[in-house]
């Protein structure tokens, strides 16, 4: 059976009672920790960004305003739940869950610590270790598009619709670069399972994928995952100066809270995924303390994850938002060719150094050709005139529209 990847389930049905109990406890602890982390993350983001912007930030509830999220949550629960009359009721109610559930499921594959031994059973500190491993991330990021997309469409309102169209285009574009960099990681690790990816990076900082793969895949992955999260500077989906609030404009009360929670949960999960794929997960220096050795990997994992969470907040405070066409250009013209070329070079070096250099030469040649193509492309005519007229009739003929808009200006 494939489930034998998890040592808990390797011995079959013997002693199911204890195993089931361990499984349930592991699930509950994981879920509870993630929920707690989300409330902390929201507080941390608000506090850190207010420090960066010379504001005070939340301060009313609890020490340093740490209970602010709880208060906000309670407030949102008791607010009136509005469903716009123009909306598609079923899809409108479905969408927040489509955003939240993938965020929770993705965290299940993150190895938080080493392996514990409880009552004679080896317990992985990881909710699930499926054989398809990291592909769960790709599948779930594919599903989470629907949350945003359907929310925007079902709202029956213009700005959310624009936002959802942007979101779907953006997420599909960046998924390619994301997938290719994951392939690079899988190539050196030799396995899809996140546990195997982490164990292959054990044995010191030089074995971490970020260094082993030469930093570039990590940078591409980080950019792509930030775009997938639609966090700043890639937050064209929620660009409040253009789109009011983006796809969640029409949402209120608990459904809005679900979107909000999903966004922060995704931020934490993706930070954890970055740590897992490129920074050795829970790997780190373990001091020789009896009975407490298992704690240190968890602490290392938390420290690394919090660092990346902080970086996201930092991005938000420091970087201006990309324009939509810049987001598309970066994804298709820079990240996808770069990740593809880097993957070929890494694959070549894994086979034989000579192949690696041949691949590097080929990639250089290809990038010259591509650069020339981009130059030719940028000198080309663009805009409406470069595209064939659509089949069928537009709502209003173009000259009529133009006359109307010119008339208004005068």
């Amino acid at each position: 059976m494939n489930v034998a990847v998890d040592p808990l389930l390797a011995h079959g049905v013997n002693g199911w009672g204890v195993i089931l109990l361990i499984l349930v406890i592991r699930l509950l602890v994981g879920f509870g920790a993630l929920m707690g982390a989300v409330t902390m993350m929201i507080w941390f983001e608000r506090k850190a960004i207010s420090d960066m912007q010379s504001r005070i930030g939340p301060q009313r509830w609890g020490p340093f305003g740490i209970l602010q999220t709880l208060a906000d949550g309670i407030k949102l629960f008791f607010k009136e739940d509005l469903v716009p009359s123009e909306s598609d009721r079923f899809v409108f109610k479905l969408a927040p869950y489509l955003a939240l559930v993938p965020a929770i499921i993705t965290f299940a594959i993150v190895p938080v610590g080493g392996t514990l031994h409880i009552a004679g059973h080896a317990v992985m500190l990881q909710i699930a270790n499926p054989p398809i491993g990291i592909l769960v991330l790709l599948a779930m990021s594919g599903i989470s598009v629907y949350g945003v997309m359907l929310a925007g469409w079902a709202s029956g309102s213009k700005y959310p619709l624009i936002s959802s169209v942007r979101a779907s285009a953006q997420m599909i574009s960046y998924e390619a670069a994301l997938g290719i960099t994951i392939v690079t990681v899988v190539l050196v690790s030799g396995s899809l399972s996140t546990h195997a990816i982490v164990t292959s990076q054990g044995g010191g900082i030089w074995h971490w994928n970020v260094i082993r793969l030469g930093v570039v895949p990590f940078v591409i992955f980080w950019m792509a995952i930030t775009a997938e999260l639609h966090r700043p500077p890639f937050d064209v989906v929620e660009a409040d100066s253009e789109l009011v609030g983006g796809f969640n404009t029409e949402y209120s009360s608990i459904r809005f809270a679900l979107f909000y929670m999903a966004e922060f949960m995704n931020t934490i999960t993706m930070s954890a995924i970055i740590v897992t794929l490129f920074f050795g997960g829970p790997a780190g220096w373990i001091p020789d303390v009896a009975h407490l050795k298992w704690v240190f990997p968890i602490i290392w994992f938390l420290l690394k994850t919090v660092f990346f969470c902080f970086c996201y907040i930092w991005f938000r405070a420091a970087l201006p938002r990309f324009r939509y066409d810049q987001v598309m250009d970066l994804g298709w013209k820079r990240l996808i060719p770069l990740s593809l070329g880097w993957m070929l070079v890494v694959a070549g070096f894994i086979v034989k150094p000579a192949w690696g250099f041949i691949m590097a030469a080929a990639v250089l040649l290809a990038s010259v050709v591509l650069g020339r193509a981009f130059m030719l492309g940028s000198s080309r005519e663009s805009g409406v005139d470069s595209v064939l007229p659509p089949v069928g009739r537009r709502p209003l003929p173009e000259d009529v529209l133009r006359a109307m808009s010119e008339g208004e200006e005068e």
């Binding site: 034998a4 594919g142 599909i172």
Partner: protein, 188 residues
């Protein structure tokens, strides 16, 4: 009687996936709103993924979700949103004359063929369709598939990818207009 050949969990999994597949598929053709139909299609794809996992084809299940649910249906929705869902189509009009009769004949032939196949062969045995060494080695599943695609079926695989590229380039060529032709149209 059935439980003699199937284990209870296997039946539950099969029933779930069958329900998802059939419910979704019926939804796709019976729902009036195209966006709802797309959501039903996603349900069907998930059902197929569950069926794949039950057959221990984990990689195919993941690819099913990533490619079909994660990309293709998103593109469907994208197009639907661009064109607008408010347009009402006249379902009573037949764009192809006689297509209904052909459709009924096709359904009869397909379902009849399936029933004959199932009755005459040993398809419904409760065992996974692939068994043996690749399934026992954990993620050998993926390795087996990858080896097959990049050695035995390399030619077919590369031809398929070339075909996809040709399709993309062709679409771009058809949709884009050359500068020269634009000028001619302006002059004329």
């Amino acid at each position: 009687m059935i439980a003699a050949t199937y284990s209870i969990p296997a039946i539950l999994v099969f029933a779930t996936s069958a329900l998802l597949i059939l419910g979704g598929a019926i939804g796709v053709i019976s729902v009036a709103n195209p966006v709802h139909a797309a959501i039903c299609l996603i349900t069907t794809l998930f059902g197929v993924a569950v069926a794949f996992i039950a057959q221990q084809a984990d990689f195919l299940a993941a690819v099913q979700i990533i490619v079909y649910a994660g990309a293709i249906v998103v593109l469907f929705l994208f197009v639907i949103m661009f064109l607008g869902v408010d347009q009402k189509f006249h379902v009573s009009a037949e764009p192809l004359v006689g297509q209904r009769a052909f459709a009924v004949a096709g359904v009869v032939v397909t379902v009849g063929g399936l029933i004959t196949l199932m009755a005459s062969s040993h398809w419904v045995s409760g065992a996974t369709s692939v068994s043996g060494s690749p399934l026992d080695t954990g993620n050998g599943n993926v390795k087996q598939l990858g080896t097959a695609v990049f050695t035995t079926y390399l030619y077919a695989f590369e031809v398929t990818s070339a075909l996809l590229i040709i399709a993309v380039v062709g679409a771009v060529l058809l949709a884009r207009r050359e500068r020269a032709s634009t000028n001619e149209e302006v002059d004329a």
